[in-house]
């Protein structure tokens, strides 16, 4: 039931993910953040098994940081994507990770980019992609309305269209979504789309 999708616009890339943490029929949390900020200009949205998702993405995040410490310059998005694919491939025939990843990043030289990385180490550089049951609805929506160099308003509008479609057609649709953006100013949270508000977190 996890929905992750993303697209590339003019000078930015968006990644959207649902925010439910589910065990069988129980919804433990409705505000679980599944899009990790890898470094200042990279986002990694992941969906998959509970432990794998958090552990694998944290492993990639720490290795990306290590490269920067060792070499003084950050990895490019393409390099990070290929590193991730390599780790998944090495583990594949021993102890595979069941995680599907959308890696979005902004490089000064090449602009925004989005990479689709499957749980069996498929790697594609794409303009738009989606994982999970939500992909059945968001992929065709994006195919229909996407065009090169969309502005931020157009892109967020398309994302909202996809979320509405998922909410109205998917049997057990996730109630809340988070939208994160990466552009020349960095990677950050853009907005939430909530239909259920969890209990407010205390200030502490």
């Amino acid at each position: 039931m996890e929905c992750v999708f993303g697209l590339v616009g003019k000078g930015f890339a968006l990644v959207v993910a649902d925010t439910s943490a589910v065990h069988s029929i129980l919804l433990h949390k409705t505000n679980e953040d599944k899009i990790m900020v890898l470094d200042s200009h990279k986002l990694m949205g992941a969906s998959g098994e509970a432990g794998d998702r958090a552990q694998f993405t944290e492993y990639i995040q720490k290795n990306v940081a290590l490269y920067q410490f060792r070499n003084g310059i950050p990895l490019t998005t393409a390099a990070a994507a290929n590193f991730t694919r390599g780790e998944l491939a090495t583990a594949l025939r021993k102890n595979p990770y069941s995680v599907n990843i959308l890696l979005a990043g902004y490089d000064k030289e090449t602009g925004p980019s989005l990479y689709y990385i499957d749980y069996i180490s498929t790697l594609h550089k794409v303009d738009k992609a989606a994982f999970g049951y939500g992909s059945y609805f968001s992929l065709s929506m994006m195919d229909r309305h996407y065009h090169c160099d969309m502005s931020l308003e157009e892109a967020v509008d398309l994302v909202d269209k996809c979320i509405i479609e998922i909410r109205s057609r998917l049997v057990i649709a996730p109630p809340n979504f988070v939208i994160k953006i990466v552009d020349q100013d960095g990677a950050r949270e853009h907005a939430w789309r909530e239909s259920i508000k969890d209990a407010p977190i205390s200030a502490a």
Partner: protein, 282 residues
């Protein structure tokens, strides 16, 4: 015997009512639309399976969380409230009504037990050791975030090898109250309220409805106790004693341990009904 009765009724001139013996022909798979409108016995589609009763049981068991217990914890204004039942079951046999499911990791951190009792007890004890070593090495207490991450990493390494642990780590550290859910699949969630175990859906209902962030300690304890009681009422694998612990800035404190049967009669006392008929003494 029927033959005899028919003979008797025939002799007395009454028609014997045999409508109960007619087969309706509607019970299995026939098209109900043809006969709607006529007065027929209510019927429903039966799933196409050879073992109907077993199928029903299997369907219920499939969605029910597997760990036979009810535990819950929530953060509120004054700290963290942790509660659990105390029943241990082996299939349909209740092996104990007095299991300690709230484990004291150290004086300011608690862990709850759901799943395999041995797994939970051992790994919580192990976590306590690691927390103490951290204190000695770093001259400061470990945070709840750190402790839960230690446990989650250990459980992740043993993933798929048959450990059954569904635990919540609750404590008070420098940043205030902390609550994490950690399980043997390697999942780790930070949150404000959780319930784990086969009785958890029942407990969630009462807990979610009665929860407010600004409750007093007494109100929060009563909410926790009530949620456990309602779960034990409906879930066969939960019962025994409802223990309630409170974790505050000075560490944890056990607030109460009430037998759920007694709680039942406290919440729903037996009312004296009007006696309709008295048997006369002869």
């Amino acid at each position: 015997m029927f033959g005899g009765a028919t003979l008797l009724l025939y002799v007395t001139g009454m028609k014997f009512d045999t409508s109960g013996l007619e087969s309706h022909g509607l019970l299995i798979g026939t098209n109900n639309e043809l006969l709607s409108g006529l007065s027929t016995a209510p019927s429903f589609d039966i799933p196409s399976t050879t073992d109907f009763d077993g199928f029903q049981k299997e369907a219920i068991q499939m969605v029910k969380p597997a760990k036979g217990t009810t535990t819950l914890a929530f953060i509120f204004k004054e700290g963290v409230m942790v509660a659990a039942d105390s029943r241990a079951s082996m299939g349909g046999y209740i092996s104990s009504q007095s299991v300690k499911k709230i484990i004291e990791i150290n004086p300011y951190m608690l862990g709850t037990m759901a799943g395999g009792a041995a797994d939970c007890q051992f790994w919580h004890r192990n976590l306590g050791i690691k927390c103490r070593l951290h204190e000695l090495a770093n001259k400061r207490r470990i945070s709840v975030t750190g402790a839960s991450k230690l446990l989650a990493n250990i459980l992740y390494n043993y993933r798929g090898m048959g450990l059954s642990v569904g635990t919540m780590i609750a404590g008070w550290d420098e940043t205030g109250p902390g609550l994490y859910y950690v399980d043997s699949e390697g999942g780790r969630l930070k949150g404000m309220r959780f319930s784990v175990g086969s009785g958890s859906p029942y407990a969630y209902g009462v807990l979610d409805n009665g929860y407010r962030y600004d409750m007093s300690v007494e109100e929060a304890a009563e909410l926790a106790r009530r949620s456990i009681y309602h779960a034990t009422f409906r879930d066969g694998a939960s019962g025994g004693v409802a223990s309630v612990y409170y974790v505050g800035p000075n560490g944890w404190k056990k607030l109460s341990g009430d037998d759920v049967a007694e709680l039942h009669y406290n919440y729903y006392p037996v009312e004296q009904t009007v006696v309709e008929q008295v048997m006369a003494e002869t």
